[in-house]
Symmetry: C2
Subunit: 529 residues, 2 copies
């Protein structure tokens, strides 16, 4: 079923000679399919098609894009079994996890389809003119339009929800932008199957051909050429800090710089207060241990640091947490490369002064990521920069603090975060104004009495945060507002009604909630011009 | 009245030894006051104060910021005469123009004060939790918060509306961000007087001290140090492409890159169709000539290129337009440096193949910018890159086209624009689908039967556009949405009601229009938690 070819628009294409294979971490061997890297020519073709599609899309009714998204859902559901099987082989993640992520992906697409229909994302704002004012007041009508062709890089750890047809791609489509996906080399097969669904759906929804291309690339070259291509107008990326920053730097140096939204993971600190340990110790041991180890801790929101106040009870808590994490079964990581990076980071952490690290047994032949816990005192933590960066895998660093003031000092050392979590009683929180103010400045999401893994996707989601959690804290990668990354405003001044886009005309035939002279209304506009 | 000192918070400070004077272009001489450049120490002090103020601001009711803005209006009005006098001396712009810009500045501040009160900018979105769902659905509450201390660079051509207390500063205040203004060296005195009003207003409104600092700098060093300061979290700039791009590059290379919104002017092409010339020739001659020459053409939206179809009537139109522009009185430019740059650009344009350039007489001793018109055929235009860039001053390039298709070819050569203007009859526009689609992709504002100068400021404004008109087409420098440049989302997950910011609590005591479970309501939330 897999051809290993690229999709340049709706055409399968494999002009290049450089091929690669994906890898099954559990069999510890390459999978049979050979994927052909996209050539410069194919990259150029995909970009030109995307630009042509963008012009056509800009003139078509925006609700047609909702139809397209719903067709994608139909196709995905029709090929669900094949997709999950390939996902499982290429990632080593279980079929259960695959199935949950598949459903989340479907839910995301549905969310965006419904959101498109509402038209809220157009942010229509109209200030009507007044010829009698001196000077005459012009009629201004604003709406959001797509920024142009968008380049999406898939994430290794979410072959569905953050990849070929993940949040970046879907929010770009919703915004009216064609998408070129640089398929993730670790799950190029899953990518191809999903891409096939998107291509079919695009045809069924009568989308212009270049609305979607899917290009293979294992080398840095394919991504680099795409980021530098003058037709590309924005980039979405989920992955490592090194990868995200490299793309950001490339894009910033272009003759025409373009925005890169890179979500680059984070340490996601948890601060646990004494009451939680006194009252709910067992519960938090279990929840945190699961959040650290689930799917080998390969989540951007996996908690990487736990601040705890040193008390007699907390010693028991830390010991129990350590045992719970270490006794959990080790799980295969996505790829030997990811396992190796994890082991290297564990080693770096272990070399830090005052670190006491314990690593569970694991099977290298299955590429298992060993569950691990490091513990250190706050004084050592405050002097060890290496500890402030993400360890991608099933590891947590417990920082034992002498006073609650150390919580603040510890957090202060960390860069921008996707999440910060407080666990404790309301009484304990109520005296933590300063801490809450500081974590609000550090993080995109503040969690109370929960764990950071498990990202809820809706209108109130925020998956982003100050650098280095993301390259632009003003945007989110998840939830309907993710669309804002790919929209820009356009104003029509004194434009004849007939010539206006339908959304901006006097008659509100699309039944949008429009800001007219500063007030949100659905009524038609009585035009005095 | 002028001390030439910096404001580091509310303290006047002049620790440095490097001083400079401002210049009166009409007297062709330096003005008496000496301004002291900010030192590294003062820069650092201002940043630390700004960070402290930011933390305090984040915890205070947002409507207090509206009060602050209204106090600024009071202070500005109290010092209006002194400000206008200094403005006039430092810019050479007339008192009439000063007065108009003063009022526009006041109107902008009022607009933002009212907008803060509404609370729309908070974009409150709440999705309530559901403990019975499997897995339990968390309660998510999102609002926008200030991004952090903002650095603002004033514009030479708008000493009030785009400078010390212009749109960038006011929108940053509205967002809850302290502002450090790097005062424009050409109107440092006007800046100081306005800064004094802001400092007084901040005290009157009980704002934390560091909410505002005002630093002098003529050398590149002061701006550079500020952009690179780790406390600064965003930059607003209005000015030249070279200046904006340099700041953007600096900010992108930081260890923690920060967003720079630079509005860098543009060519603002006008396309005039035959019907307009046939039916309204005289009117368009007058309006375009005025738009080109008013205040020596020193506007970012001054029309720089006019595309016209070569017909017998258009020959008359072009000749009349030329005569009208050339016969208008020349006006002093803001500064000899700006005049010199203008003359250099005129010369560059004149060297282009096929250019026929006419320059009106002007008085160098008054630093007058000579009105000028260049004319060329479309074939020569399509081959001359130098013609695609802004000429800042009272000049327009008329491109004579052979067919309406040349309009498209000509526009296609241009980079991103703040505005594109079409002048013609509805009948002519109705067959220009392709052209309108293309200019929508090129520009932030499409104007029909008007001229691009004269920017209306309200909820439907857009002053920005694709690069090189701005460094980020997703934002505007003008109008209430300018606030979005300086806001980022923060989500509170499962946060106890008492601990939530007032805006997000169950009881909607602030009477905000909130998106609750996807629907905009003002009702309280019935919390099932």
């Amino acid at each position: 079923m897999l051809t290993g070819e690229n999709f340049v628009g709706d055409t399968r294409s494999a002009k290049g000679s450089s091929v690669f294979q994906t890898f099954n971490p559990i069999q510890n061997d390459f999978l049979p399919s050979h994927f052909t890297e996209a050539t410069d020519e194919e990259i150029d073709e995909a970009c030109i098609l995307a630009q042509e599609a963008f012009v056509i899309l800009s003139q078509e009714p925006f609700r047609k894009r909702a139809l397209f998204l719903r067709k994608i859902i139909l196709e995905l559901n029709a090929f669900k079994d094949q997709i999950l099987e390939c996902y499982n082989l290429e990632s080593g993640l279980t079929l259960d996890r695959a199935s949950i992520e598949f459903q989340r992906t479907i839910n995301q697409i549905e969310l965006f389809a419904d959101y498109i229909d509402k038209g809220t994302f157009l942010e229509v704002s109209i200030d009507t003119g007044d010829l009698n004012r001196i000077p005459p007041k012009p009629d201004l009508r604003k709406k959001m339009v797509g920024i142009g062709p968008v380049l999406v890089f898939g994430a290794s750890n979410f072959p569905l929800a953050y990849s070929t047809v993940g949040g970046d791609t879907i929010s770009a489509f919703a915004a009216g932008c064609p998408v070129i996906v640089k398929s993730h080399p670790m799950h190029a097969g899953t990518g191809e199957l999903v891409a096939q669904c998107v291509v079919k759906a695009a045809k069924a929804a009568e989308m212009p051909e270049g609305i979607f291309s899917h290009l293979n690339g294992k080398s840095y070259g394919v991504g680099k050429k795409l980021v530098l291509h003058h037709i590309i107008k924005a980039v979405g990326f989920t992955g490592s800090h090194a990868g995200g920053r490299a793309l950001f730097d490339l894009a910033s140096k272009r003759k025409e710089p373009i925005p890169v939204f890179a979500e680059m993971g984070s340490v996601n600190p948890i601060i646990i207060f004494p009451d939680a340990i006194l009252l709910d110790r067992k519960k938090w041991v279990e929840r945190i241990a699961l959040s650290v180890t689930n799917d080998a801790g390969q989540f951007c929101t996996k908690p990487g640091i736990l601040f705890v106040l040193k008390t007699d009870e907390s010693r028991i808590f830390v010991e129990e947490l350590k045992q719970e994490i270490l006794r959990k079964s080790s799980v295969s990581m996505l790829h030997p490369d990811i396992l190796n990076r994890y082991k290297k980071r564990l080693e770096e952490v272990s070399y830090s002064i005052g670190i006491c690290q314990e690593i569970a047994p694991s099977n290298d032949a299955l590429n298992e990521g060993p569950n691990a816990v490091s513990v250190c005192g706050v004084a050592d933590f405050l002097n060890a920069e290496k500890l402030y960066e993400e360890v991608f895998g099933p590891h947590i660093l417990v920082v034992e603090c002498e006073s609650q003031h150390d919580f603040l000092a510890g957090i202060d050392k960390l860069g921008g975060q996707l999440t910060c979590t407080l666990i404790g009683s309301e009484k304990e929180f109520l005296i933590q104004n300063e801490l809450i103010s500081v974590i609000q400045q550090k993080a995109g999401r503040l969690i109370f009495n929960g764990v950071p893994t498990g990202v809820e996707v809706n209108a109130s989601s925020n998956h982003g945060g100050p650098y280095p959690a993301s390259t632009d804290s003003r945007f989110t990668a998840v939830g309907v507002d993710a669309i804002k990354r790919f929209c820009r405003p356009v104003v029509f001044q004194n434009c004849p009604d007939k010539l206006l886009p339908m959304e901006l005309r006097n008659k509100n035939v699309l039944n949008l909630n429009r800001r007219v002279n500063g007030i949100f209304v659905t009524e038609d506009i009585i035009d005095q011009r």
